[in-house]
């Protein structure tokens, strides 16, 4: 492509603070439709905080987010209304490290719940769609099980199906495989790779360098609350320019 497409999502100068202590400093990132971006960096770098600011789970103290023609301002610059917030979250799916399935509901009910209560779909329609999404992530057989009866890999794929059932335009993943045994992690990574191939716009915080190199279009390396280096995925991971990135990648690859 000669002309970079209009970004679907643009974060500008995002700052995040906890109790007056700032942990993310002026991070900006533009995401094109269909783009897959991996956020990597040492623990405590602010990757989760930044990712969580994109669906306002962690409201930024300053900076703006532009998404789908709407602008969302950080707390100091006016904040956002409840209506704006629900619109934003309706269009952005999120997958957590700890799955966070609702333990009192079956796999199917987990996927049905927000379709009915947030989107207003009928129960029958939501059920139909939930079955479809569960089949799509390879879980046609666990629909009636409680999450506690499913393996970690199955739980994480249920969580992915739950988010996808709302037809998000962007999916956020926060270390989706870090809590999983390697064999189960593979199932989840395969599902994510397929999602990427289908054209989903994705932001993925991960320590899986193979995934980042092979699936992501672009890699962003963060440390101490700032973006240190970013670039095309394969090139950045093979040949990092910044010393801080080199050290981090050497340590991760050495493991």
């Amino acid at each position: 492509m000669n002309h970079p497409p209009q970004p679907l999502l643009e974060a500008s100068d995002i700052c995040i603070a906890y109790g007056g202590h700032q942990v993310v400093h002026d991070v900006s990132l533009a995401v094109a439709p269909g783009e897959v971006i991996s956020l990597i960096g040492p623990s405590g770098a602010g990757k989760s905080s930044f990712l969580r600011s994109i669906n306002w789970l962690e409201p930024p103290c300053s900076g703006t987010l532009t998404f789908d023609g709407s602008t969302f301002r950080g707390l100091r610059d006016g904040g956002v209304s409840k209506r704006q917030l629900q619109g934003l979250r309706r269009s952005i799916g999120m997958v957590f490290q700890q799955f966070n399935l609702f333990p009192h509901l079956s796999a199917l009910e987990n996927v049905v719940l927000a379709q009915v209560h947030a989107l207003g779909r009928s129960k029958a329609e939501a059920r139909e769609r939930a079955l479809q999404e569960l089949h799509h992530v390879g879980l046609g057989e666990v629909t009636d099980k409680l999450p506690s009866k499913c393996s970690g890999g199955q739980q994480q794929r249920i969580a992915i199906a739950r988010a996808l059932a709302l037809d998000p335009q962007v999916m956020l993943f926060d270390e989706p495989t870090s809590a999983l045994d390697p064999e189960y992690a593979m199932d989840v990574l395969v599902t994510m790779r397929r999602l990427a191939d289908e054209g989903m716009t994705m932001l993925v915080v991960t320590h899986e360098m193979h995934f980042a190199a092979e699936v992501a279009d672009r890699v962003v390396f963060m440390a101490e609350g700032r973006v240190v280096e970013e670039g095309p995925a394969a090139a950045l991971i093979r040949d990092p320019q910044h010393e801080r990135t080199q050290k981090f990648l050497a340590a991760v690859k050495g493991r």
Partner: protein
């Protein structure tokens, strides 16, 4: 043994009053407890603080003082309730305070990640509470609520002090006629215990069912 059999018909109406008093206190107090628990997590401290103060007063003041305040104190501001209603209202106040604390703890025990997942799925704050937090909290509070109800059931004997004809006062009155205090009080104690233990056993069976 024969004395117990003779006393039993005298005490039985008292048991009925005791059970009614317990149900009244729970029926009035528990819904208030749920509301107080919800309000004690309100974002505004102008809501939160008064609620916390009411709950702490309810838990801190002895039940007997509350009963006397309702029975003797309220008439001074022209609110006159029967002895039975006074006992019910007084015990309901304590019930609201104690159950609010139990339910508040149950709500706090719901992992914050589940709330975040609800928010990320664009559920509203009320939906988040009703569909995700409350159903989980209710599971963890059932056992402590049953425990509290049994203590409340025994605590209704305080109503004796304001002459409600409940189980203890029935036993005491029966004994003051025949002077068989030992027999009357042990029988009353046994009647309290049988109901308490049955309730405990039923609750245990129910909660095992839920786990399976």
């Amino acid at each position: 043994m024969s004395t117990w059999i003779e006393l039993f018909p005298d005490l039985l109406p008292g048991l009925w009053v005791t059970i009614k008093l317990t149900l009244l206190a729970l029926g009035l107090g528990l819904p208030c407890g749920v509301v107080l628990a919800g309000l004690s997590a309100a974002p505004s401290r102008w809501v939160r603080w008064p609620v916390i103060v009411v709950v702490e007063i309810g838990r801190g003041v002895p039940g007997l003082i509350v009963l006397y305040l309702v029975y003797r104190g309220l008439p001074q501001v022209d609110v006159v309730l029967s002895a039975f209603l006074s006992a019910g209202v007084g015990l309901a106040f304590s019930t609201a305070a104690y159950t609010a604390e139990i339910i508040r703890a149950g709500i706090a025990a719901v992992p914050v990640g589940h709330r975040e997942a609800a928010r990320a799925l664009s559920l509203s704050p009320l939906q988040e509470f009703r569909l995700v937090v409350l159903p989980q909290a209710l599971r963890t509070v059932i056992a402590p609520l049953v425990g509290f109800s049994i203590i409340l059931y025994q605590g209704t004997s305080l109503a004796y002090a304001i002459s409600v004809p409940e189980l203890l006062s029935r036993a005491y009155n029966a004994a003051s006629i025949t002077f068989q205090f030992g027999a009357a009080l042990t029988l009353a104690g046994a009647m309290y215990a049988v109901v308490s233990l049955t309730a405990t056993a039923l609750a245990g069976a129910r909660s095992r069912e839920r786990v399976l």
